[in-house]
C-alpha cells in the first residue's frame, strides 16, 4: 500500500486537503495519477498500485468500523421498529443509557433486544456534573465489561446543552482510569483541543441541541475544528433531523455521525435509517472527493466557442 503522510494532496488536478487516514482508506486504482505536495515542495509521480484495494474504514479507539453511522436506542415505539431501523442503518455501534433497575421485580433486559453483533456504547445521559458522570461510567463498565463510554454532562434541562467544564473534568478522570472516552460537547475548537489533550480518542461536537432535529447550526465551527485538527476523529453528535443534515456534517469533514431521534421519531424508522446510512456515505464521498469551488457567477459546462450563431 502506498502511504503518503502529508495533508495536502493534488488528485486529478484538484488540490484536496486529506487526512492521513484518507490514504490508508481511500481506494486508489493502479496507475492513478498523483501529484503530492510535500511541505512546499511538489513531488510529481505516478502511484503504482498493485492489487491493494483499500476500503474507507473508520478507526476509533483502536477498532475498525465499516459504518460511519452510530445510532441510539431511545424513543422507539417498539422493539421491532428499533431492530428494523438498526438493521437498515448499517450501524455497528449503538448507544444505550444507564438507568436504575425498577424495584418491581421485572427482570426483562433491554439489551436482549439488540443485535448481539453490535458494539454497545453506554452513555452518561442525565448527568449534570462530573461526579455523576464518572459514577455512571464506572457502573456501565462493571455491568457490560466495556471501557467505552459516551461522556455526556448536561448543563441545563431545557436546552440539554453540554457543560463543557464538567465534561472535561470527567474526561480527565475517566481517561486516567482506562476508559475510552467519547465526549459530547459544544462545537468549539478550543474545547476540542482540551478534550483531545486529555486523552479522548475522538471528540463529539453537537450539530444542534439533542433531539432538536435542527441540523448543523454552525457549519463554520465544524469546518474550523476539522481544518485545525486534521488528524482528530470528529463525530457529530446530536441535532441531525434528516439525511441532508447528516450529509452536510460529513461533507464538512466529520468522520462519523451519532444520531437517535431523527430515526426513532420518524414515521418509518427503518426507511429513515437507510436514508441516513446513504447520506453519511454520500457526504463522506463528497468530503474525500473535494468539492468544486463556489462561484458567484456561472461557469458554462458546454463549450461556448463553436456553438452555432
Amino acid at each position: 500500500m502506498c502511504r503518503i503522510d502529508k495533508k495536502h494532496v493534488r488528485v486529478a488536478g484538484r488540490l484536496v486537503r486529506a487526512r492521513i487516514s484518507f490514504w490508508e482508506s481511500n481506494p486508489v486504482d493502479s496507475g492513478y495519477k498523483l501529484n503530492m505536495c510535500r511541505r512546499t515542495k511538489f513531488v510529481r509521480g505516478k502511484l503504482n498500485m498493485s492489487d491493494h484495494k483499500v476500503e474507507d474504514k473508520f478507526l476509533l479507539g483502536g477498532k475498525e468500523f465499516g459504518s460511519r453511522l452510530i445510532i441510539g436506542t431511545g424513543k422507539y415505539r417498539n422493539y421491532e421498529e428499533m431492530r428494523a431501523a438498526h438493521e437498515a442503518s448499517g450501524a455497528e455501534m449503538v448507544t444505550v443509557a444507564v438507568n436504575r433497575v425498577p424495584l418491581d421485580g421485572k427482570t426483562e433486559s433491554f439489551l436482549d433486544h439488540l443485535n448481539p453483533e453490535m458494539q454497545i456504547l453506554p452513555n452518561t445521559a442525565g448527568c449534570y456534573d462530573a461526579d455523576h458522570a464518572i459514577r455512571t461510567a464506572r457502573l456501565a463498565r462493571e455491568a457490560l465489561g466495556t471501557d467505552w463510554i459516551k461522556l455526556e454532562v448536561i448543563g441545563d434541562p431545557v436546552t440539554l446543552l453540554p457543560d463543557n467544564e464538567q465534561t472535561l473534568a470527567a474526561a480527565k478522570t475517566l481517561v486516567s482510569e482506562g476508559f475510552i472516552v467519547l465526549p459530547y460537547f459544544s462545537d468549539d475548537l478550543i474545547m476540542a483541543k482540551k478534550l483531545l489533550d486529555a486523552g479522548c480518542p475522538a471528540v463529539m461536537p453537537l450539530a444542534a441541541p439533542i433531539g432538536s432535529g435542527m441540523g448543523v447550526q454552525n457549519p463554520s465551527n465544524l469546518r474550523i475544528i476539522r481544518e485545525q485538527l486534521p488528524d482528530a476523529v470528529i463525530i457529530v453528535d446530536a441535532g441531525v433531523g434528516v439525511p441532508s443534515d447528516a450529509a452536510v456534517a460529513m461533507e464538512l469533514g466529520a468522520d462519523a455521525i451519532l444520531m437517535n431521534t431523527a430515526i426513532a421519531e420518524s414515521a418509518d424508522p427503518a426507511r429513515m435509517a437507510e436514508g441516513m446510512n446513504l447520506a453519511v456515505r454520500a457526504g463522506r464521498m463528497a468530503y474525500l472527493s473535494g468539492r468544486m469551488p463556489k462561484r458567484l457567477y456561472a461557469s458554462a459546462s458546454s463549450p461556448i466557442e463553436g456553438a452555432i450563431r
Binding site: G72, T73, V98, L103, N123, E142, G211
Partner: protein
C-alpha cells in the same frame, strides 16, 4: 433495617450481604451493576459486602438512549 435503594427507602431484614439483597428484590443479576455508598462493588464481591443501616445502594441496568 432501613436502607435506600435506587432512591427509595426500604425496610430489609438485618445481617445481609449485597448478593442476598439482590435475591430478595428479585433483581436481575446479568448485565447490572451495583454501587454501595457511591462505590462500585464488583460482582465477585457482592456476597462479601455486608449492608448496614442507612446504606445507599444504586442498582443499574440499561435502557434505550442516545
Amino acid at each position: 433495617m432501613k436502607i435506600i435503594i435506587n432512591g427509595e427507602t426500604r425496610e430489609v431484614p438485618g445481617e445481609m450481604d449485597l448478593g442476598e439483597l439482590l435475591e430478595l428484590l428479585s433483581m436481575p443479576t446479568e448485565r447490572v451493576a451495583v454501587e454501595l455508598n457511591r462505590r462500585v462493588v464488583r460482582r465477585a464481591e457482592w456476597t462479601a459486602e455486608k449492608i448496614s443501616e442507612d446504606d445507599q445502594i444504586e442498582i443499574i441496568h440499561f435502557v434505550g438512549g442516545g
